[in-house]
Amino acid sequence: MMRIVLKKIGRSLLMTVGITLGVYSGVASAQGKVLKVALGSMVASMDPNAKTSGPPATIVFYPVFDTLTFSNEKGEVVPSVATSWKNTSPTSWEFQLRGDVRFSNGEVLDAQAVKFTLDRVLNPENKQVVRARIATIKAVTVIGASTVRIDTQSPDPILPKRLSSIFLLPPTYLRSTGEDGFAQKPIGSGPFKVAAFTPSSQVRLEAVTTSWRGRPNLDGVEIRAIPEASTRVASLRAGEAHIVESIPPDLAQRLSRERGLQVVAETLGQVNLILLNTAEPALSKKEVRQALNLAVDKTAIVEGIMKGYAVPTGQLVAPNGTGHSSDIQPYPYDPVKAKAMLDAAGVKDLTLTLHTTQGLQLNDREMTEAVAGYLNAVGVKTQIQVLETAAFVQNYHGGGMNPAFFIGWWYFPAMDGDFVYVWNQSGMKQSRFQNAKFDDLYTASTKEMNPAKRLEIMQSMARMFHEEAPGIMLLHPRQTYGVRQEVQGFVPRPDRVIVFDRIRFQ
């Protein structure tokens, strides 16, 4: 009898201890944990500025490195390491820096570090890929420990935005390890540091306690490349990844109904369109180009191909970027009027070859095929030519792929229309649009320092582009993410950056 009672007591004691330990370890491990993120690709080098630009680079570099300025979720430029800035003259800026920024090895991030980083990028011998982004800078001068002066070659209204993509590096450390050493063991001033890196495969980040951005809730982040979309999604469903980027639209609907997960999306600073070569005789009349725009049902493409994960558009810049004009609507779907306009313009037997990539942009080929179908319906014969990525890029920069091709332009991280309008200037090899008035407006926009006036100029450009229609404007894609429910604090952004600072587990 006694033995039974003792056994029972012993068992319940054991259970209590076990449960307590379990709960405790559960709590302890929920307080800080490792977030697992799966992207479609991974950077080849952890040396920011040097070799890579654009996502996924920005996703991987922002936790580790800092920039002078930053873009918030609405695409506005906000202070980061630079607390404020002002123009002392149209070509001269003064940036005030925070005094409390330290790299993870203790080195101070001051004006010297800023000058070192910018000079290194600007030096043509270093062949750094992001140099083109800040090519307007003429000189960087240290005024005081926390003040930097930047002189530009000509007035540059968006210099602060440009600086949001230049990651600040530790001069003393870099000089001591050399370029190769730094690429292998990079050091930044962000809330995470690199623990391990496999080029083009994955990177493991560990939280750092000394960053001015505050101590993260997470202990670490593992970001890895899973190129195959179905495997990425499987990873999310199996709980092996907590945040997964780029869920194919047709999977996204099903996934959002699954328990334990949610699908979130955000409109990107990106635009997809079929660019038309206005030099081509058949396409030289704007009425013809407008007709082509009227012939395509963008809403159907958004619903049918992108499954709702896109926004139809009539301009290049979405509301999340500077240069958007809210009075411009997408061309309505009116095949009857399109046909009438084509007839009125004297167009008979028009054949267009639409060039496209396959898989470079989400549903690039599918969208092109849809457009071809709509054009066929109004009497325009079409052919589709699919090009491999490298061939496409070569033709794009070389002025080939006439008379039409699918293209996706993006304007992040600066979130400014300048980066998409630039491609349509007469002087550019990439431009298929020759319009002197547009060129004048663009040139004016690059020099106008008053933000309100500059916005007006850019909105005029948007209206002109819409009116002249040198392309069949389609949509702004929305980037999808699969997120496990225990993840909190994740905000999808129009520049695809994931801010890990405030993400935590429930």
Binding site: A44, A132, R133, P199, S201, Q202, E228, A238, E240
Partner: protein, 308 residues
Amino acid sequence: MTRLILRRLLELVITLVGIWTVLFFVIRLSGDPIALLMGPGASSGQIEAMRTDLGLDQSLAAQYLLELKRMAALDFGRSIRGGQLALDLAWSRLAVSLQLTICAMLVALLLALPVGIIAAAWRERRVAQLLLAITFLGQALPIFWTGPMLILLLSVAWQLLPVAGWQTPSHAVLPVATLASVLLAKLARMVRAEMLDVLEQDYIRTARSKGLLRGTIILVHGARNAMIPVVTVIGAEFGQLVGAAVLTESIFAIPGIGDMLLNAALARDYPVVQAGVFVITLVVVGVNAAVDVAYSFIDPRVRHAADR
């Protein structure tokens, strides 16, 4: 014997140079990595400057000779995308791919042997025929179906195995199974064919007349002789397997050399492509050479013929 090894080494060098030459011209004529690398913001001036820096503005012949000299010194240059030494990148990825392909080869072999032997020795039985048919399914179903299906079933639905990556032994199960499924049918068919051949031989009849057990006859006298041609095929199949591994690595996000090669080729990262192909050629030719040498050990007839 020494002559055999020396001859194989010479063949290795010639093959390497030959493949490398073909690759050099094919990849150089196919596209321009600089524009891809520098991204949309670069001006033509910057693109041309980068091109000169990387020595890509010289004539093809000049580039070829320069590269040939460098290859002899095992200097493949640096990755255009990442800046690391191309050969280092290739070597670091090779270990993972070798693990994958060797495991897949072993699994395929270990399964193909009993299936082939049973299918030959008991060929009238329904079970044997069914077994063979199932292996054919593995060959018929493409990897990009088998892989994701296995993931869906075993990782997502039943949560038995991890989805992607190559960290623990359990990560290896699905990719190895996927890769092996392709090879299994081919090997099983070959084992069966060889066994059928061997079982007709006189010495088998002798063994039976001696009163040996059926099992002994099949395994000791039959299978061992049937293995000889299968071993030689392993060398050739290994090369195919390395190719199929690219797909498997992509599906399961395994950081192997196939995946590296694929990304480098798409980005026109010449140095990495060349280093990758060089390493893979080395491995495939090396394995074939090793199999040849091993073959001469297994089969006394070949050994004596080679020495003569």
